[in-house]
């Protein structure tokens, strides 16, 4: 966070300044929606490696960061892209090949971990997951945790309710806070100071943003005056949390951005096919990502027709009648 008066920058500089080799990163969005894809592609272009990634139920963003070998560790609840890949394909491959270390939580637990970080407390309690292997099996063994100051010493802790049986609850599971070095989210509107307005569901973006040491915001519309303050009830993240604001139209593509565009079913189906084959996937990263200079360049390649096809119906916020078979 910083309280500077303007934080507008470009994506190359924003990523270079805050996303470092080995950093602990979290990305916003959910499955096929509002993943900060432009930033993900920029991370891949800058060849930043050894990232420790946090997500809750992220699809495309997680899968491409894994596929491009940018990660060493992943903490996550769900790796999937809905109908397009009920389990993300490069994610599945990487876990099966033990190419990344992984720690599993439930979705609520991941959301609570970001909430704890944003609230400034070391943990929050829940009544979820008793009796499951989410508690019993650890992906990061104690020694690994001990040698890494950025990780809590334990995955989860069971605690007897110190208030007796208050709320009819005998015990709770404590989930440790996450404070990522940097969080990247993609929102519909942000102003030059970093005030953010998200349209539609916010997922855990607000908690991810507020728990981070540094926050990069990419946005569909950059507002260069104080107009967002005309309707403060609609803003979810005040500027004091932001470090960098970058204007990137279609910055969530190929995932959806409510009110602006839908997910691209053509891209996602094609991606699922390519991701199943190592050689094809290598080629995809080389040509599609490393072979483009910027997200704008990538959007040019995707082409006006495809973007028009997924453009959102103003009333509904998605592309009505889009062929999604």
């Amino acid at each position: 966070m910083n309280t500077n008066n303007t934080k507008v920058t470009n994506l190359t500089d924003a990523v270079k300044s805050y996303v470092k080799d080995g950093c602990h990163l979290s990305i916003g969005g959910f499955t096929i929606n509002r993943n900060p894809m432009a930033a993900v592609y920029e991370i891949i272009r800058q060849k930043i490696k050894n990232i420790h990634l946090y997500a809750h139920s992220n699809g495309q963003g997680v899968d491409e960061l894994i596929g491009s070998k940018s990660l060493t560790c992943l903490e996550i609840a769900y790796g999937g892209s809905g109908k397009f890949a009920s389990t993300c394909i490069r994610f599945r491959k990487a876990v099966q090949d033990k190419a990344i270390k992984i720690e599993d939580y439930s979705n609520f637990q991941m959301a609570l971990r970001f909430l704890a970080g944003s609230m400034g407390v070391p943990f929050l309690p829940t009544r979820s997951s008793f009796g499951t292997d989410i508690i019993k099996k650890w992906g990061f063994p104690p020694e690994f945790r001990k040698n890494n100051a950025k990780l809590p010493n334990k995955k989860l802790i069971e605690l007897d309710n110190p208030f007796g049986n208050w709320c009819d609850t005998r015990k709770v599971v404590l989930v440790p806070a996450i404070n990522p070095d940097v969080t990247i989210i993609h929102v519909q509107k942000a102003d030059y100071r970093g005030n953010c307005r998200i349209h539609g569901l916010s997922f855990a973006d607000v908690e991810q943003a507020k728990s981070a040491r540094h926050l990069i915001i990419t946005c569909e519309e950059l507002i260069n005056d104080d107009a967002l303050k005309n309707d403060p009830d609609r803003n979810q993240i005040p500027f004091i949390h932001a470090d960098a604001v970058v204007h990137v139209p279609h910055g969530a593509y190929p995932t959806a951005c409510y009110g602006y565009y839908d997910y691209d079913p053509v891209f996602l189906k094609e991606y699922a096919k390519i991701a199943k084959n190592d050689d094809k996937y290598h080629l995809y990263i080389q040509s599609q990502i490393l072979g483009t200079l910027s997200h704008e360049d990538l959007m040019d390649k995707v082409g006006r027709d495809r973007l028009k096809m997924i453009a959102a119906d103003k009333k509904r916020g998605y592309a009505k009648g889009l062929d999604r078979r």
């Binding site: 959910f30 929606n33 829940t126 979820s128 009796g131 916010s202 998605y318």
Partner: protein
């Protein structure tokens, strides 16, 4: 005997599940067939049930079938567009949570309705990796009643799970209480061959009904463990009206069906 030609097994499963939803239920659903079942319930037999997504959308106007719980289609005409924290705390809160019915799926299930959606094989050296819990563990922990979709296969109905992602009755009648979980647990398992319930006392799965043309024996042959089948009845096939509503109002473009 094959199922009657005028409906598919997926349609049958969807409708059988939809029938288990009651008016005033708040229906938590994931993607795919579970979302379709929730939509079908609203169109067929529980018009006042409320569809509720783990992403935080409540009572959305679903003009088109969402393909993921993060699909923008669920954000249109919702009562409230919240976030993950709102959604899961609505289930964890016993005041609202007691009205929630969860619709889940998994890779493996055992006789107590525990589910695995994480790995086949050793957790630290898996043969097959699945998506992981998502919100399923949370739903299964909190809600009083859940419906589970499964394929009727031996490798899916397992004596012992490779990984417990979502708690059912854990190790039996006292399992949830001992572990620290709220009351509740799995209510029905719906497969492509039949529907199972859980015994009130033993908390073990039993066969409640077999689909037309499927015998209880066939079902047992497609499970690794044995369940009580003596009270199983043939399940009524979808009515013409149910099928019509499902096909025209829920999934006209056959995205799931």
């Amino acid at each position: 005997m094959k199922p009657i030609a005028d409906y598919t097994l997926k349609e049958m499963m969807t409708i059988v599940a939809a029938r288990e939803v009651r008016n005033n239920d708040i229906v938590f659903c994931g993607t795919g067939i579970s979302m379709l079942a929730a939509m079908a319930a609203k169109k067929i037999n529980a018009p006042q049930s409320v569809i509720f997504f783990e992403t935080g959308a409540i009572d959305s106007k679903l003009e088109e079938l969402p393909l993921a719980v993060g699909d923008p289609r669920i954000m249109y005409q919702a009562s409230c567009n919240g976030g993950l924290i709102d959604s899961f705390t609505t289930m964890q809160n016993p005041i609202t949570g007691k009205h929630v019915v969860g619709i889940l799926g998994a890779a493996q299930i055992d006789i107590y309705g525990n589910l695995n959606s994480t790995v086949i094989g050793d957790y630290n050296d898996p043969d097959v990796r699945f998506s992981g819990s998502g919100g399923a563990c949370d739903v299964a922990s909190f809600v009083p009643r859940s419906l589970i979709f499964m394929k009727q296969e031996k490798r899916k109905f397992k004596r012992k799970l490779d990984y417990i992602t979502s708690p059912g009755y854990l190790d039996g009648p006292n399992g949830r209480k001992k572990a620290g979980l709220p009351k509740g647990g799995p209510y029905r398992v719906i497969t492509d061959m039949g529907i199972m319930g859980f015994d009130k006392h033993t908390k073990k799965m039993y066969l409640l009904g077999h689909f037309p043309g499927i015998s209880p024996e066939t079902i047992l042959q497609n499970m690794e463990f044995i369940i009580e089948t003596s009270n199983s009845k043939e399940v009524l096939p979808p009515t013409l009206n149910e099928l019509k509503l499902l096909r025209t109002k829920c999934d006209p473009h056959c995205l799931i069906l």
